[in-house]
């Protein structure tokens, strides 16, 4: 069945360092979404990418969708302690079903 793989599973960074998480799908996606879950919280929608090669920025966060629409990445520049949490990608192939990656948990040391 369709799978969405996300790496790394965990990442420890020093505050101020950059962070990247990668998402790969076994099939072509119609869109990909990114969510953030703070410790003890629930996933919160960050952004959606739809077009091949699309790049979107939200302040220090940069999201990319691959040319083949099978992979995506989230890059955080100069991490802050407020970035702590788990970042999930979620891909849709069409229809109603969205497949979530296992998430990357980010730890930031001040």
């Amino acid at each position: 069945g369709q799978q969405v793989m996300q790496i790394p599973q965990y990442q420890h960074v020093q505050e101020g360092e950059d962070f990247t998480t990668y998402c790969n799908s076994s099939t072509t996606l119609s869109n990909i979404q990114w969510y953030k879950q703070r410790p003890g919280g629930h996933p919160v929608f960050l952004i959606q990418l739809v077009k091949s090669g699309e790049v979107k920025k939200q302040k220090r966060l940069t999201f990319q969708f691959g040319e083949a629409k099978k992979n995506s990445s989230l890059h955080i520049t100069a991490t802050q302690t407020t970035d702590v949490g788990t970042y999930f990608c979620a891909g849709t192939t069409g229809g109603f079903k969205t497949i979530f990656g296992a998430g990357t948990r980010l730890f930031v040391k001040a």
């Binding site: 069945g1 979404q33 629930h42 996933p43 919160v44 109603f96 079903k97 969205t98 979530f100 296992a102």
Partner: protein, 113 residues
């Protein structure tokens, strides 16, 4: 702001009990979802519904059933709870058309003893 509420934040049940988890959304969303979240496994879809009285199985429907009698309410039922159903359960909703971003409830941490 979209609001998705779940009936309980924490729940402790005994093996074999019937368990009801309820979810209510206030934004007239067509789609509603039930996930379970376990460490290292991310969010796994149990069931979803795209309309009243309609339901579709997700990736792990075994041991669960759902009910959607009203558009705003989506219930997850564990017919006979087992210890391997101890987990965090998250409900979500989304619009049918346009962007498919999902809005999540706060979650219910269910422990089956």
């Amino acid at each position: 702001d979209v609001k998705v509420t779940q009936s309980s934040r924490y729940l402790v049940k005994r093996t074999g009990e019937k368990v009801f988890l309820e979810c209510v959304q206030d934004m007239d969303h067509e789609n509603m979802f039930w996930y379970r979240q376990d460490p290292g496994l991310g969010l796994r879809l149990i069931y979803f519904s795209y309309d009243v009285k309609m339901k579709e199985k997700g990736d792990i429907p075994e041991g669960y059933s759902v009910s959607r009698e009203k558009k705003e309410r989506f219930s997850l039922i564990l017919e006979s709870a087992s210890t391997n159903q101890t987990s965090m359960y998250l409900c979500a909703s989304s619009r049918l058309a346009g962007g498919r971003e999902q809005y999540f409830g706060p979650g219910t941490r269910l422990t089956v003893t």
